[in-house]
Amino acid sequence: MSTFGVIAVVALTIIVLIAMGALLSYLSRTGSEKHADPDAELIEAVNAVLPQTQCAQCGYPGCRPYAQAIIKNDEPINRCPPGGEQTIEQLSTLLGTPVLALDTSCGQQKPEQVAVIKEDICIGCTLCIVACPVDAIVGAAKLMHTVIADECTGCELCIPPCPVDCIDLIQPEQTAASWQWPKPAS
């Protein structure tokens, strides 16, 4: 190879690479983001990952308190049974900590569920309304209560207070609105 050749090839390669790099960085540039309070932002991010079932199985009175505890008190990330493995994985990528197995002392992961009140048994005691963390139960004293299925998170907190055991948890049925196309076999 002649000297000129070597120089030409090297120069061409460098020019092409620089041009491609510049183009790439130009095309994929994003606006810079502002960081106000890193802790508050992290808590927001963690809270966004948590399932918002508000079941308190993690030992905190809801998802946000648990999120605060994760960031402020280094609480382990594996205490949320409704979120299960998926949430733990998301948390571990978010926080850069290792993936842990679900702490089963908090509970087991269950399929999606909603509460229904057997309306003929309900005595209208309002105890479940008080227990529901997301206000998904409607009713007035001494009148029948009912669960708004769309708003129920299936947290089970209304089950223990019911004096007549009239609340069941069921798996929500497939409806025309919730149906999904099946994934093709790959």
Partner: protein, 521 residues
């Protein structure tokens, strides 16, 4: 794709046509029209009609009728849903609906009262023949369009089933171009063509009503070049009533009947999926919708549609007009096609946009444009993609199906969004050309419905969080109020005891003072 994307250019009679990216020429099979003498056969309402209580978004809605109630044809069963026949409500219960996978939804089950229903048909026919009434009816409609639209529960009959009233609302905001879609681009579907052959005058009136109502600058009626009879009938009808409508013949390239492709063909404008045609001064209506509007103005609500019975395994293919809620089984029985129920694969809709049915005991809806019987076949299993790029060459939405498929299958919804999955019109062109038999369209439907599900779930999560925050705030407030009340009570108790002690003190002071004052004395 900017500079190198090739656009098919075609110049047919009438105005310049622009064409759209990709697309395919399909076999123009229309057995329903070719093999029968009558373009449309009228079917009597079957014994039982099942009307699912679902709105446009497939959410359940509450019935406005009761069990055993007698309902008249045209009476409201629920918001936006009318009774397709006169009869009695036999049940309001979950029933199978027409759907890719057998699924139930709450439905009104009507037992048709044949005698009084036949009477209603008779009366309707008479009203139809009375054409002097049209002008009065039309001006009444133009004065008060909402009356007609609300009473007649108009839906788009093109396939998406979008409520006509909301589309018209958008159109009333001032549009330039009104497009009447008579391009039935899928093989085997011939309902619009049959309708144009038989009801040309009425369709022309319906279109005229739309033109007058929307006050559009121009109106285009787009018919595919593969339907000469319909073209002749419509141009004669439009001329006879002197309607300001330009009949445009477009080349038969699938999916030219898709709204976005049609707009592009006629106007050259590519409307991104996240914008509405009305944002660009364009509104599209299906030709069958124009006909339904004509009927609605004449006082007849939308309660039936033309369905093409076709497919290579259909013994007696034809077009039938049936009431909504008739079961597929009843239609097949009434047309002498009962044999296909056990021997063939039944399909609702066309070969590309339709879906196979698990059972014939499902009611048809406004969106069911065809029922096909095809032989049972085993599909070639998918092989690895060889990146040939054929799929993106034919994609009318200018997507990269091959890359989209990869991300759809790996559930990478963010990447799917980046690659514009939402713009996919699920036309199936990419499947048709893929040498590796990859189920591209299904993977896109899957990814889209999954993304929708995730979004719904996220919304639910967000709502739960907010309600929890409100709940907490309320509990906290109540606690605080309680604490506050206790505090106040204590304070007030103290306050009441204070003046007493002050008085005592004062009395003591006074006593001391008086004692002192006495001493020197």
């Amino acid at each position: 794709m900017g500079m190198f994307g090739k656009e098919k250019k075609a110049c047919m009679q009438g105005p310049l046509l622009f064409g759209f990216h990709g697309g395919l020429q399909l076999q123009p099979n229309k057995r329903a029209l070719q093999n029968s003498t009558d373009p449309i056969t009228e079917l009597e309402a079957p014994h039982e009609l099942v009307i699912p209580l679902l709105d446009y978004n497939k959410n359940s809605i509450a019935p406005q009728v009761e069990l055993n109630q007698h309902v008249n044809r045209g009476q409201l069963l629920a918001a936006g849903i009318i009774a397709p026949a006169t009869g009695q409500v036999m049940a309001i219960e979950p029933r199978h609906i027409i759907h890719p996978e057998t699924i139930k939804a709450n439905a009104v089950v009507l037992e048709v009262d044949k005698a009084s229903d036949n009477q209603s048909v008779h009366m309707a026919n008479q009203a139809n023949h009375d054409s002097t009434a049209w002008d009065t009816q039309l001006s009444a409609f133009l004065n008060m369009p909402d009356n007609v639209l609300q009473q007649s529960a108009l839906y788009g009959l093109g396939g998406a089933g979008f409520p006509t009233a909301s589309k018209l609302d958008a159109a009333l905001g001032g549009i330039q171009t009104l497009i009447i879609n008579a391009a039935e681009c899928e093989p085997e579907i011939a309902c619009d063509e049959a309708l144009m052959q038989t009801e040309a005058t009425h369709i022309a009136r319906g279109i005229d009503a739309l033109v007058q109502l929307t006050q559009c600058r121009h109106c285009l009626l787009a018919i595919e070049d593969s339907m000469p009879a319909a073209i002749d009938a419509m141009s004669a009808a439009l001329k006879s009533i002197n309607a300001q409508v330009k009949l445009t013949v477009i080349p038969t390239i699938y999916p030219t009947g898709a709204e976005s492709s049609l707009i592009q063909t006629l106007t050259g404008r590519f409307i991104p999926h996240n914008e509405k045609p009305s944002d660009h001064g364009i509104v599209c209506f299906n030709v069958a919708t124009a006909y339904a509007l004509y009927q609605a103005i004449g006082g007849k609500a939308l309660d039936s549609r033309v369905v093409s019975l076709g497919g290579s395994a259909m013994p007696n293919p034809l077009n039938v007009r049936v009431r909504f809620g008739s079961s597929v089984e009843a239609i097949l029985l009434a047309t002498g096609n009962a044999s296909v129920i056990n021997t063939a694969r039944l399909r609702a809709g066309g070969p590309l946009s339709g879906f196979d049915l698990d059972t014939p005991q499902v009611p048809i809806t406004a969106q069911t444009n065809a029922l096909l019987a095809e032989p049972c076949i085993t599909e070639t299993p998918a092989q690895p993609c060889i990146r040939c790029g054929e799929c993106s060459d034919v994609c009318p939405a200018k997507l990269l199906p091959q890359q989209l498929h990869w991300y759809a299958m790996s559930d990478d919804h963010e990447k799917c969004q980046q690659l514009n999955l939402d713009a996919c019109i699920e036309c199936g062109c990419c499947d048709l050309v893929c040498p590796a038999s990859i189920k591209l369209t299904q993977s896109f439907r899957y990814a889209k419905s999954k993304a929708k599900h995730i979004a719904q779930h996220q919304q639910k999560t967000l709502d739960a969080e907010q309600r929890f925050a409100l709940h907490e705030a309320r509990v906290a407030k109540r606690k605080q109020e309680k604490a506050h009340a206790i505090e106040q009570r204590k304070q007030s108790l103290k306050a009441r005891s204070k003046p007493q002690s002050d008085q005592i003190k004062a009395a003591l002071e006074r006593a001391k003072l008086s004692a002192k004052s006495k001493k020197p004395r």
